[in-house]
């Protein structure tokens, strides 16, 4: 019964959901019960989620965990966990990924990607290898290129407009 609603709300088949459940449980076997019929309120702390091989070396792992978690701090329930992998999988459509990508790059959660968000993104992408000047220039150019409503920051529609034109948006 549980898996039925999960199959309809995520892009996974029953087997994949089960496999992901095992992986969730493996992170903290003493915390996660095997029986989920009563919807136990179990949240795994961010440190455990961030130690998974898929996320361990990803510079954006913390933002990803924060975006998908209910409390916004990276502590995930099973639903959040499945949601995260569902959106990150190959089967999720581009619009959905673009929506969540926008939220991930929006570090201060103000629903806009402003200059400081962009700077943080760039630094994470390049592991702080670009100089300050270069970072500043890139940010200016990006906002120049993508900002359609000319308010100095990228809104969701600017972002989506740009993504629609880029077939290489993989995730």
């Amino acid at each position: 019964m549980i898996s039925l609603y999960l199959q309809d709300c995520t892009y996974f088949t029953r087997k994949e959901i089960l496999r992901l459940f095992y992986r969730y449980r493996d992170l903290a076997p003493q915390l996660v019960p095997l029986d989920y019929t009563n919807h136990p309120d179990v949240k795994l702390p961010y440190e455990l989620i961030g130690s998974m091989p898929e996320l361990k070396d990803n510079p954006f792992r913390q933002r990803i965990a924060e975006v998908f978690s209910e409390d916004g701090e990276g502590n995930m329930t099973l639903d959040d966990f499945l949601d995260m992998f569902s959106v990150l999988s190959e089967m999720a459509p581009r619009d959905l990924k673009a929506y969540y990508a926008f939220k991930i790059y929006d570090f201060n959660n103000d629903d806009f990607i402003c200059k400081s968000d962009l700077e943080k993104t760039l630094n994470k992408l390049t592991r702080n290898e670009l100089t300050e000047d270069e970072v500043r220039m890139v940010c200016e150019k990006v906002i120049d290129e993508a900002d359609l409503d000319n308010d100095g920051r990228l809104s969701l529609e600017d972002f989506q407009h740009m993504i629609v034109r880029a077939p290489e948006f993989l995730r």
């Binding site: 361990k56 639903d79 790059y105 959660n109 220039m137 989506q160």
Partner: protein
Amino acid sequence: MNVNDIIDSAWVILLQFPLMRVLLPESEGHQGLSAALRALLGDLTFLNFLSLYRPLSAFVSIFMSTCLSVRSPVDEEGVHDSFNQLIAEQSQNGGPSEAFELQQLQRDLDEEGRDGIAYLSSPGGRQGQRDMEWEDDERQTDSLIAERWSSATLKVLSSMPSRTIGRSRGAIISQYYNRTMQLRRRRQSRPAIRDFSRSARPSIRDYGIGADTTDAEEAERNKRERLVNNLQNLSVSDRVRMLRGMPLSVAEKSGLRRLALQKESHALSSSKIPCCSRLKYYIIIAVRQSWYSWLSFLHSLQLWQVALKRVSGRFGTGVLSYFLFLKTLLFFNLFLFLVTGAFLVLPQAVHPPALSAARPAFTGLEFLTGAGYFSDTVMYYGYYSNYTLRKSCRDDVSNGTSLDCVSKRHSYNMPLAYFVTIGVAFFVTCIILVYSMSKSFGQSFRIDKSHSILAVKVFCSWDFKVIKKTSVRLMSENICIQLKELLAEVNHKNVMNTACQKLSRLMVHGLAWAICIGGNAACVYAIYHFSEHMHQNLQLTSRSTIKDPLLYEASLLALPVVVSLINLLLPGLFNLAAWMEDYESPSVRTYVAIGRNLMLKVSILGVLCYHWLGRVAADPKVIRLQCWESFVGQELYRFLLMDFIFTLLDTLFGELLWRLFSERVLKRRRMPEFDIARNVLELIYGQTLAWLGVLFTPLLPAVQILKLLLLFYIKKSSVMMNCQAPRRPYRVSQMTTIFITLLCFPSFLGASVCVTYTMWSITPSTSCGPFRELKTMFQAGKRWVEELEKDNPNLSPLAWAHSYLVEHPFFLFVGAGIFLREKIRSFL
């Protein structure tokens, strides 16, 4: 939805979706199709006739829900009603073994050392509490509802930005309410009257204008209810697709889903279905259920899943695309093998024909040359009988003279089967290729505006599939370098080249192209003359007695070796020319490289086809060939095998030895790069040979399958050991589209043109094969139709139709083209 619609959709889905699911399991949107399949069931109000046939229905529903994982409201009470039971069932099936593989992967990655625990930044709320401009939203989207747009337009419109698409939950619900409304209007002419409340006029209600309340929460609740109402009225597939695509948390989506299903289970309509169509529905459902369960079983086999994850974790999606392409080709060949195996090889193997000559002894050389012991086996065209195979019953064997009583029942018309099988296999392959090509095009075709390159680079260049630490570091470095380059390019605007510089660049380009085309032409000329020389050699040796049959057979390998050598060495020349030209843009360099390699392969295959069809087939008596088709089949087998051997050699020398050389002798840390484009072109070349050879060697797909399996493991080990990821940015979806297009157009089209030409105009051998006494192979079909007409004069319209439609292929192609176009359009 009437029965015709159902059958039509069933045909479409059965034909296109299952094969797509098998062949391209990675493709986006296949889940939508699988849901469409289930939707077709839901729409037939499965519940209704089940409720009338209670005992049978109980059995059927339990059976189906246990074995075939039906997802309809009925089996909410089905067998798996607790996660516990699910886990228990899975653990019996060895579920944790997959977890073990993933643990292994984790251990591999852990060897690099753990990263430090990241800091926690200040928490933010998950959804903002923005204020919504409801009227604005509705006014804007009402104009969308007002007209009926085509699905393509709606798709484009729905992905376009709208001013008020916010991030709050209310906004998302509102947006999705409108989308479900559009979907409902698209599916039906208008929502049913009973869905409206009594007090409102239908036309106003349609536009979803909100109640007069100004309270935001109340409005949100209203919207939510209406969204649930819409969801409930959609078909199951649409509902699932909408739910999945909503950017809400899973908890909220499940709440919406529960509400929608609750309402649906209350509102079961009690309309009766006419009696005779119930049986039809039942049959269709049963067939589709079993087909769907077979597909999910196949999908769960997950061929090479861990290996692919390792490769993508280290090298990214570029190198992964090569291995996925290999997997796709494997499934194409599997399909071909199943079709030819079931309809050609098996019947002939069960009814072996009388052997005319003694079979030569088995020496080991057969595996290389394909001739000798193998030449008179089910592997080649010459073995197949040209009569109708019948199951004979022998009464009296002990006497020595046995009377064969021929039973009329189990008869199998071999020539017709051969002709039809090859034709149908090619036709279905064509449909699948065109479909996957159109889908790939739809995903990757974008207007390439040059003014947002930097933004695209920042947001879209991170490859989330890469999980190994060193690879991540490498990717960061690459992105950094690319950003710096882009910045430099954008800042220092292009210095105007003087006329002299432009002229010199043009000359360099011209020289490089001249070298490439010249090299190409020289090789083609060499192959032409070498093949003619071999042909004459064969004439001479066939006249005199063969002194050493082994040497004779080995000499047949000379042409394949020469061709494979040219295939191996000439791309090196092209690389040299490209290095000399020094293109600035890496994508242009890749396209030029692909173009040159393609030119080489197409010209080689053209010369070879001329040699086989124009020289050998035209006059087989000159080289004393009893059976030219078997000879051509053997040649193709040899070519395929030599291609494989030379690819092995190339992997060995090009990658392993080069890495050792550069490490020990040159003392460089850089490992060779994996050249994706060249390797994919090699795969396409091999597949073209396989398609050319199916007509002459029905077992060639099996050889190709073995070759691809071995190639996968060899390439994977070589890549993991010896190579590094490409440094230059690789545009995966564009490249994948190009490769699928190349597979369809020059490769498959060329092969099918050759096969069609062979079937239509070349005289088959008179002493072997299923088309022995016929003028052309195509006559097999004609003769069968004539026989049918003779036996049963009522079928003369069929003969007339056959003679007009099939013999004039123009109508066939036009009809197929129109049909394909409509289907592709509906799927795009």
